[in-house]
């Protein structure tokens, strides 16, 4: 009997001696870990992602869409033509960014801001989603005779995203586009839609991305729902986004409401986004 107790004690003390040193002092504190890199770039394909330019950095982005692929080799799948938008945006901190852009389509200038209201966190007291607001003023300048007030279009979006796991991220984007000037009398000034986007990582540095905008409410018969399918390739300070989409314009009122391409006859557009980051 005593021998048994002795052996037990010896064992007990051996177990104690093997105690992890760290366990002696680690207390499970309330740690919440902010989720980062829900998307690699500030765009998913066409759509705005929840990501902002990083604090104190300037991001230069070129959004290049070729012409329609419908003429095939005759104009090298649209590569003879191009619509370009470029923008410059600045991250003031991890919650607020501001930018300006210019697109060759309708010679449109734009000013925009993205604000992050909520960041998804894991751990104690998790926050399930990140929430942001994106707003933009577009000023078209192709029509020289228009009054300033008639040139304006306003975009307002809520960006709600969740990084499901290390490779899958999803986002929904309730969107309002307000046009001061519409094409004909019974067209609506306010257009609502619901954007859906996501990305699936293939490797640490590449992913497949998709986004589309479902129209809410009435649209004319000529309306085509827009979509974009692309892939991200990250190389240090750059992100390349290659895509095929049915919308040639790369600012909100164009890619949400004015998609023109269809699968028939390969009437779609190839394109790419490149972003380059400068630390200030």
């Amino acid at each position: 009997m005593n021998r048994v107790i002795l052996i037990m004690l010896v064992h007990l003390s051996l177990i104690h001696a093997q105690d992890e040193l760290l366990e002696l002092i680690i207390e499970e504190k309330d740690i919440s870990i902010p989720v980062q890199a829900t998307f690699k770039a500030t765009r998913i394909v066409n759509a705005q992602s929840i990501e902002l330019p990083r604090p104190k950095t300037l991001e230069f982005m070129i959004l290049h869409r070729f012409g329609s692929m419908k003429d095939r080799f005759y104009n090298l799948f649209g590569m003879d033509e191009a619509v370009i938008r470029f923008d410059l945006k600045y991250g003031f901190n991890d919650k607020l960014s501001f930018g300006v852009g210019r697109s060759s389509l309708d010679k449109t200038y734009d000013f925009f801001t993205k604000v992050k209201l909520l960041n998804q966190t894991n751990g104690q007291n998790p926050i399930p989603v990140s929430v942001g607001i994106f707003s933009k003023v577009e000023i078209q300048s192709i029509d020289k005779d228009l009054a300033m007030i008639d040139r304006l279009t306003f975009d307002l979006q809520a960006l709600i995203s969740r990084k499901m796991n290390r490779s899958l991220s999803l986002q929904i984007m309730p969107t309002l586009i307000h046009k001061n000037l519409v094409e004909d009398e019974d067209a609506l000034h306010d257009l609502f839609s619901l954007g859906i986007g996501g990305r699936m990582k293939l490797t640490n540095r590449t992913s497949i991305n998709f986004d589309t905008f479902l129209p809410l409410g009435h649209r004319p018969n000529s309306f085509i729902q827009s979509w974009g399918l692309g892939c991200d390739i990250e190389t240090g300070g750059h992100v390349f986004q290659l895509m095929v989409t049915n919308a040639q314009g790369s600012y909100e009122s164009k890619y949400v409401e004015h998609a023109t391409g269809r699968f028939e006859n390969l009437n779609l557009y190839l394109g790419f986004n490149i972003s380059r980051v400068f630390s200030l």
Partner: protein
Amino acid sequence: MRMKIKFILLIFLIPLYAREIYFTRNGDVSFFSSTPIYDIKAENNQVTCVFDRDNGEVSFRIPILGFNFPNGLMQEHFNENYMESDLYPNATFKGKVNNWSNIVLTNSYQSINLEGIMTIHGVSKEISEQGKIKFKQDKIAGDANFEIMVADYGIEIPKIVREKIAKVVNVNVQLQLKKK
């Protein structure tokens, strides 16, 4: 007989409760790497270290997300692409000071040798590195500088950034351990 058991019990239990444990939860670990194109540096002051003064055993836990870079994009890439901190949230070291029984702590630095297992990015490797240690005002101060080969821990540097990211990283550790 009963006395004997109590005696044995005491022998085994006393050392446990009298262990002289020194620790910190905000030790500093920083690293630096340099190539002709980029210098990369980051600091982490959330490092947990526990040291057993009785037997010289030491244990580190370094939260990867705790590394702060001057450049936010680098920090994101460090976590997402290289360290994969969602899979491997901590780097750890478990080891002991060589010849601890022969070392007498004084209030001036003396060199020691640390041996043990370093785990980074889920890969464990036996290491042996030099450090300095002293005892002053109830605190043990530790200091170490060493190099890590990135490839030793299964951290892949893609070809396209190979010019910018060094294969060897200099690590600096500075600790002030207080008694538990």
